[in-house]
């Protein structure tokens, strides 16, 4: 255990006790930060931006406008995330903070396991796709997508799909046709037409409410969905069929930089959280699902491009 006072973090009067270990400390001391790591000798820095260089055992605790609240006198600090510098690189880590006011609060989650490196985005060029293990049971299933669409969103001759499935007239599909539309149930179209190309945008849907990048909303009715065995939702395209051997047929593939994609069931429970990354052992690019703890790779052709490493 090491208690390190932040002298160089630029945050003045806050003192944290940063502890490394694989189990949460049993003692409850105000402003203790526990980092889930086998490295026990830790130093730390508090900063909204990542230090340009690091030393082994240095924990960067990112501060932001939101996050776990820690009080120092009349000042409130928000701990947003944590990363540990080891062997020449930063890696996101699980971090908890104890305060007398809030007890233990988790403020940092590990994006991907050590065997992978998280990247800013995964980019498809119109030939790649990923088949997930998700099967929506109701159009109330929600999502939170963060992406830059690279294909045209004004063409009415092609309909590249960001994700979805459309089998036996049961649809749960988001495409980029004329600014984007959400297809749900049997031939129902939730018009939105508010997506643009070459601009990073976020689109959310929770249960029946879709929230557009301009923060306006629309209501999508809940419709039950039923699929034959083996049908699964795809990303970067849409699932249209499944063979007798279980191979999912995917079409209408899109050109997209995907930053992250979450799915929620009809109860608004997180059922999929896909994080762009690559496998360190062979540089295979893909999506890590934090819910299933499973790595999904390209099942189409060519190769995904990736953005820069992130923690």
């Amino acid at each position: 255990m090491a208690t390190i006072f932040n002298m160089a973090g630029g945050s003045g009067g806050i003192h944290l006790s940063v502890v490394g270990g694989t189990t949460k400390p049993t003692s409850k001391i105000n402003r203790t930060v526990w980092i889930d790591t086998s490295t026990t000798s830790l130093t730390y820095i508090l900063s909204p931006t990542r230090p340009k260089t690091g030393v082994n055992g240095l924990v960067w605790i990112k501060t932001a406008d939101t996050g776990a609240e820690v009080y120092a006198g009349n000042t409130i600090y928000h701990l947003y995330s944590a990363a540990l510098y080891l062997n020449g690189k930063w890696d996101s880590v699980v971090g908890w903070v104890y305060t007398e006011k809030s007890d233990w609060v988790q403020f940092s989650k590990k994006l991907v396991p050590l065997e992978y490196t998280a990247v800013e985005y995964l980019e498809s060029t119109g030939t790649q796709h990923i088949v997930t293990d998700l099967v929506p049971t109701n159009t109330m299933w929600g999502f939170e997508g963060d992406w830059t669409i690279k294909n045209s969103v004004t063409s009415d001759s092609s309909t590249p799909d960001l994700f979805g499935l459309f089998v036996s007239q049961n649809s749960y599909l988001l495409d980029s046709y004329k600014g984007g539309r959400f297809l749900y149930g049997s031939k129902n179209t939730g018009g939105m037409h508010k997506l643009t190309e070459n601009t990073r945008q976020q689109l959310k849907k929770h249960r029946t409410i879709m929230t557009f990048p301009d923060d306006s909303t629309t209501e999508i009715p809940g419709v039950a969905l039923t699929y034959a065995d083996g049908v699964k939702l795809s990303i970067f395209g849409s699932s249209r069929s499944v063979s007798s051997s279980g191979v999912v047929g995917v079409s209408d593939k899109s050109r997209v930089q995907l930053y992250s994609l979450k799915f929620f069931d009809e109860h608004d429970e997180l059922v999929g959280y896909f994080i762009p990354c690559y496998r360190n052992s062979d540089n295979m690019a893909g999506l890590w699902d934090q819910v299933r703890e499973k790595f999904y790779t390209n099942q189409g052709t060519r190769t995904f491009l990736v953005g820069g490493d992130i923690t």
Binding site: T125, G126, N198, Y278, D282, N283, T303, L305, V306, G308
Partner: protein
């Protein structure tokens, strides 16, 4: 398509003395100024083919917009030339008709 890769894996769309020419489909459809935002690592016995951005996503987006603008400017110039040719052809046809009368 052929790209050119230097010793630090930076990609170039045009030939350079210090670069190896490599054939790959990974950058198909991307403008040259965007391709040059990436590092490229060819596949070997252990590793998959790998292309990773070394410029920020904001910079890449700016370059994409610039490339799209240049494409539209070129298309516009071609359309203006085509229209000018059509106008000239019509003028010559009118002249021939007038001279024939």
């Amino acid at each position: 398509m052929i790209v050119y890769v230097d010793i630090k894996h930076h990609v170039y769309a045009s030939p350079r003395d210090d670069c190896a020419a490599i054939e790959t489909s990974i950058f198909e459809g991307m403008p040259p100024n965007v391709i040059e935002c990436y590092k490229y690592y060819p596949a070997d016995d252990i590793h998959e083919e790998f292309a990773q951005a070394w410029k920020s996503s904001d910079e890449i987006a700016c370059r994409q917009v610039l490339s799209d603008f240049e494409d539209l400017t070129t298309q516009n110039e071609e359309l203006v030339d085509t229209i000018a040719t059509m106008v000239e052809d019509l003028y010559q046809q009118d002249l021939e008709i007038i001279e024939g009368e």
